[in-house]
Assembly symmetry: C2
Homo-oligomer: 363 residues x 2
Amino acid sequence: MAGLTPGATIGILGGGQLGRMLAMAAARLGFATIIFDPDISAPAAQTASRHIAAPYTDLEALAQFAKACDVITYEFENIPLEAARHLSGLKPVHPPVAALESSQDRLVEKRFINSLGIATAPFFEINGAQDLQAALASAGGRGIVKTRRMGYDGKGQALVESPAAAAQAWDELGAHPLILEGFVDFALEISVIASRGADGSFRAYEPAMNRHGSGILRMSIVPAPLPGEVMADAVAMAQRIVTALGYVGVIGIEFFVTRDNALMVNEIAPRVHNSGHWTEAACAISQFEQHIRAVSGLPLGQTTRHSDCVMENLIGDDVEKVPGILLEGDAVLHLYGKAEARPGRKMGHVTRLFPRAGEVDPQ
Amino acid sequence: MAGLTPGATIGILGGGQLGRMLAMAAARLGFATIIFDPDISAPAAQTASRHIAAPYTDLEALAQFAKACDVITYEFENIPLEAARHLSGLKPVHPPVAALESSQDRLVEKRFINSLGIATAPFFEINGAQDLQAALASAGGRGIVKTRRMGYDGKGQALVESPAAAAQAWDELGAHPLILEGFVDFALEISVIASRGADGSFRAYEPAMNRHGSGILRMSIVPAPLPGEVMADAVAMAQRIVTALGYVGVIGIEFFVTRDNALMVNEIAPRVHNSGHWTEAACAISQFEQHIRAVSGLPLGQTTRHSDCVMENLIGDDVEKVPGILLEGDAVLHLYGKAEARPGRKMGHVTRLFPRAGEVDPQ
């Protein structure tokens, strides 16, 4: 495989914590990085070789960015499609713009998943207040109204369990295209962090069990308490999805697992994913390095792990736990360099390792 | 302990690969970094928040650097003492300037080590051609002439085994202050990567066995094939050394181990050390994070490891092995972002992990 050689430059659209960790992984493989993000205090700028601070709509700045890069990737899925399309005419963009397009619209995404014979929660297209009432009835009187676009971390969502609640949700969110998702009483949620190379090679990390609070990921736990066949099924579904997308890079796929161990895809993120942060501490090759390998045409790394682990997000005031975490002495801490700890803001994460044969004490 | 809080800025004198890895470790703990290095293409500049490119003798640039930093450290021991002293009057500098001073002169360093009751190779101060001939005779006709200052990676050294060779070594190196070290027929070399906090806390990683070629470290192997008592003795000596120095930070101490398992200190490096690069792959807390923790007044991390490992340096043309290493799929590769692979130049390193209970395969 003729991949990029050390010294090449990888462009990253988006300068949040995912871009920051991608930039460090790229540096470890000898690559330079350029972050494109309008925010002059983007966390990724601190660890990248260069930062272009311009709006995603600035075609001239995008062209300048493309000129300086050998390959371009992105760290979040709400990049304007026009920007991604413009860039893909100038330099290779991985993952493909088609993946971005599908993941930006919940309706398109779910139809795509179902088209592969993979289950999702039941869903209904909502184009008016009447649609919503009808859909709620079809869904058994209980469901979640979601904006089709630009939702993340539980934003743009409302649980509705009555016609009155549905009417209120319509008042609040009806200005946007919506869907109603039928409520799934799942036993647990897992995610598969998978990767596909330009040559069609495929690797997935072991699925992690995720715990959410207020719509935000709180913890990922590995191994998940599931039979091996269920985990293998989830990985096989991930492979079908990335193959159908002609995907290149790392993808995060969230699944609901029902009480009888059936799998439904909840959401796809065409990028490195919060529920894969544990790989940085428990695997030789992290999801960040894996993504850099994939988009730069290098062979994918192995996805084995040396330890069991629990990854915990540090959200908002959770940063106050940092002194205690540092005192633990063996917790793998990762902070994102964000100055202000606003409620709901992801400030960092910590992974606690449980090596399978115990650690070796040097003293 | 009242250490720095996230958002603080750590200044790093020297912008080579060690500075680069320190900058990434600092970023992971939420710190900003400023590299001070005259070389505009310093590898560390690519991963740091900022780079001041000025000579170490530029007092004004040093003052500007100090003003922007909360604490200052260094990544190589040949920083001019005047620069370190100037800075230490402006902001805290860790490790202490005294450690820098001792390590810059082989004669001073060995006398210091002996003063702690710790053995070194026999050594002789050489101030003239006659001194050298006399010392060679005292050393049994065999020894290594070394410049007292500025030697590293085998530079400024000559093995002498005859009066004629000694005369030639004098011709080549006599312009510099020299010592003669008696030749030690050691069984193996180990190094201890130790750390001391501002509060006197102490931690050391398990000693690694080192393999050199052409005077340059080639491999570090963990565990070293030595009895536990010998390793414990080496760690205890390291603790005596850092305590005597009032040291704060990570230190690398190389030991010769004789055939009857006696220990002699070969060399002290008051900084993170090449023979500790394995900790990045095999431990929860790497030597780089440990150093950042120490100099910023945070609690030291644990030094346990989850895996056995072998770290291999990639020197000069060794970078041609990179495609093969990437194909291995589970080797932890770290490249330094250096454009040109000159002979003897450290381009990167790779650590192969051997988890003690085997890895877990996700598929």
